[in-house]
């Protein structure tokens, strides 16, 4: 039998495996429940990364672990091995995504609602979902919005004293958008009803391939509000699915959430085993996956911090209690869409930050290998996006239209059987270059765009303050060296406080 036929076609169809930029190499996306994972499962992920990957795991902005560089022939084995500890692959593509949450209200002292409780109800609602549409949801238990629901989700729920405020239309990517408020202070049950209304709307044929942001833009906020707020009082009888790391009691006094630095979200198998071990022995037995990639261990006693610091140092890990917030990226250099090597950039920047002696954990910096911004570059004080200039080769272009379809910002048209790029519309991603079957769109100059002033949530207490906002581009097509110089300058004079 042909070896390749062992590939689990059904699994590929459902997603959870995304191709990387090396031949036959995939990344395996492991689903988390309430964005947590217990020590035993983490050990398994660490072992699999070592045996079938390259010995490290990525803590990603989707709040789940990804094992990069698994060969296509091993993908089925990895999936089966994960199932042995009740782990599943995540969903991706035109599918409903995992609901991203912050912490159980019994763990986080800021939480005013319990995101886990709403998350369970939403997951229950999705249980029998037929798929076919890309729908992202995320929940934050307070206005700090650590999960950035207003930008990172089609439907984002933000907890307040009287219930959830709901935002529709958040997205990053090539056409970033901050969601518009469509409901205020509603209950968990009402949130599920609202979501149900949204699903009914987005499944209409005319919205095929569209996102919440497109719906808001086309219909306007008042009309969408009316549709989404119909019959919110409807009861949902389903028994809620329970998060296995749910906390029934308020966390004891003196216990904290221990944050660990993991630049670029990269954690080696040895490091991950150590983190799992610390979670088991000093915490609540599980690790929380956050947007910015630094692994978090809730329930650690303050008095044990120095002891843990020593244990972490054995595997070259440090506690995230100095410097700037965790430097996060997307797949960067490993991605099929990656234009720039963001891992290299951020590792150099980390050294510069240490040299400058900057100590402000509110400073958030992230980088994305392309303008899709999977590394949440738009939500950071300083953000970087890899960019590239496409040039049509008139001799080899056949006018086949593939690039016209691939372009998400409608910057390409076919004129006299040739592709013509409107550079005023182009956002410098690599979609047309990659999509062209004849390599007729060539790579021009490439570099970084530098953004400043982005913010994922409301932060009343820090100097930047204010609401969620998207970073603004201050420079385009700068080299890695220039990008580092600009970042250093911003860090020195505090100009990121836009």
């Amino acid at each position: 039998m042909n070896k390749k036929q062992k590939i689990d076609l059904d699994q590929l169809k459902k997603g959870g495996m995304v191709k990387l930029n090396e031949k036959d190499m995939f990344s395996v996306w492991v689903r988390t429940v309430c964005c947590n994972m217990d020590a035993k499962k983490l050990q398994k992920v660490a072992d699999l990364a070592e045996k079938y990957g390259r010995g490290y795991v990525l803590f990603t902005t989707r709040q789940l672990p990804i094992i990069p560089f698994v060969h296509i022939d091993d993908v089925t084995t990895v999936k089966e091995e994960l199932e042995k500890v009740h782990l599943m692959l995540d969903r991706c593509g035109a599918r409903v995504r995992n609901t991203d949450v912050c912490y159980d209200a019994n763990i986080c002292s800021y939480a005013v609602t319990n995101p886990i409780s709403l998350g369970e109800k939403i997951d229950q609602f999705w249980k029998n979902d037929p798929g076919g549409r890309k729908i992202k949801t995320s929940i934050a238990g307070c206005s700090k919005q650590c999960t950035s629901p207003r930008v990172l989700s089609d439907i984002g729920f933000v907890g307040g004293e009287k219930g959830y405020d709901v935002y529709l239309g958040g997205r990053l990517g090539l056409k970033p958008n901050i969601g518009s408020m469509v409901a205020e202070s509603i209950s968990e049950e009402e949130c599920v009803s609202l979501l149900k209304n949204y699903v009914a709307l987005i499944r209409e044929e005319k919205w095929k391939g569209k996102r919440g942001a497109d719906v808001v833009n086309a219909l306007g906020v008042p009309a969408v509000k009316e549709i989404l707020n119909k019959n919110l009082g409807e009861k949902h009888s389903e028994k809620a699915f329970l998060c296995d790391t749910r906390q029934d009691n308020k966390i004891e006094d003196g216990k904290i959430i221990l944050r660990i630095r993991a630049t670029c979200g990269e954690v080696t198998s040895d490091q991950l085993r150590k983190i799992a071990d610390i979670a088991e022995n000093y915490g609540k037995g599980f690790v929380h996956f956050v947007l910015r990639g630094g692994p978090e261990i809730p329930g650690v006693d303050k008095s044990k911090i120095e002891e843990i610091r020593k244990k972490l140092a054995e595997v070259n890990l440090e506690i995230l209690d100095q410097g700037v917030d965790n430097l996060q990226t997307c797949f960067g250099a490993y991605c099929t869409n990656g234009i720039m090597d963001t891992q290299a950039l951020l590792k150099k920047l980390e050294k510069i930050i240490k040299k400058l002696g900057i100590n402000d954990l509110d400073i958030k910096i992230s980088a994305s290998g392309c303008p899709n911004s999977c590394g949440i570059s738009h939500l950071s004080d300083i953000g970087f996006l890899g960019v590239i200039y496409p040039i049509v080769n008139k001799k080899t272009c056949t006018g086949c239209e593939v690039c016209v379809k691939a372009c998400k910002v409608d910057a390409i048209s076919i004129q006299n059987k040739l592709a013509v790029i409107d550079y005023n519309k182009c956002v410098w991603c690599m979609d047309c270059i990659n999509a062209c079957p004849f390599d007729a769109i060539e790579k021009g100059k490439k570099g970084y765009s530098v953004l400043v002033g982005g913010r994922g949530g409301y932060s009343p207490n820090d100097q930047r303050g204010g609401e969620t906002k998207l970073g603004k581009v201050i420079k385009e097509f700068v080299s890695e060296d220039e990008a580092l110089e600009i970042a250093e300058e911003i860090l020195k004079n505090g100009k990121y406080k836009s």
Binding site: N2, K4, K13, T398, C400, V402, N434, A435, P437, F438
Partner: protein
């Protein structure tokens, strides 16, 4: 119509990503180097992704042509042993 001798055909209308890619890839693996495969693909996600991935596998895309409103015809020459 261009003058290319097609050795095999595969109709992937209605087959979603990445299954359409995998089926194309498996078909090409059954063929000899230099032989030509014709694939019918859906407009949209399929036509954006399949030619790109097949090209990355080391095969050569000879033709991409719209058939009608909904489908594309892609002609591929099987490349080196992959």
């Amino acid at each position: 119509m261009e003058n290319i001798k097609v050795d095999q055909k595969i109709d992937l209308r209605g087959v979603s990503c990445p299954l359409n890619f995998v089926k194309t890839k498996l078909k090409l693996e059954e063929m000899q180097r230099g032989q030509v495969l014709e694939v019918i693909l859906d407009d949209g996600e399929a036509i954006q992704n399949v030619p790109r991935s097949i090209k990355e596998e080391g095969h050569k895309i000879l033709v991409v042509a719209r058939i009608d409103q909904k489908y594309f015809r892609v002609v591929i020459e099987r490349g080196e042993e992959s």
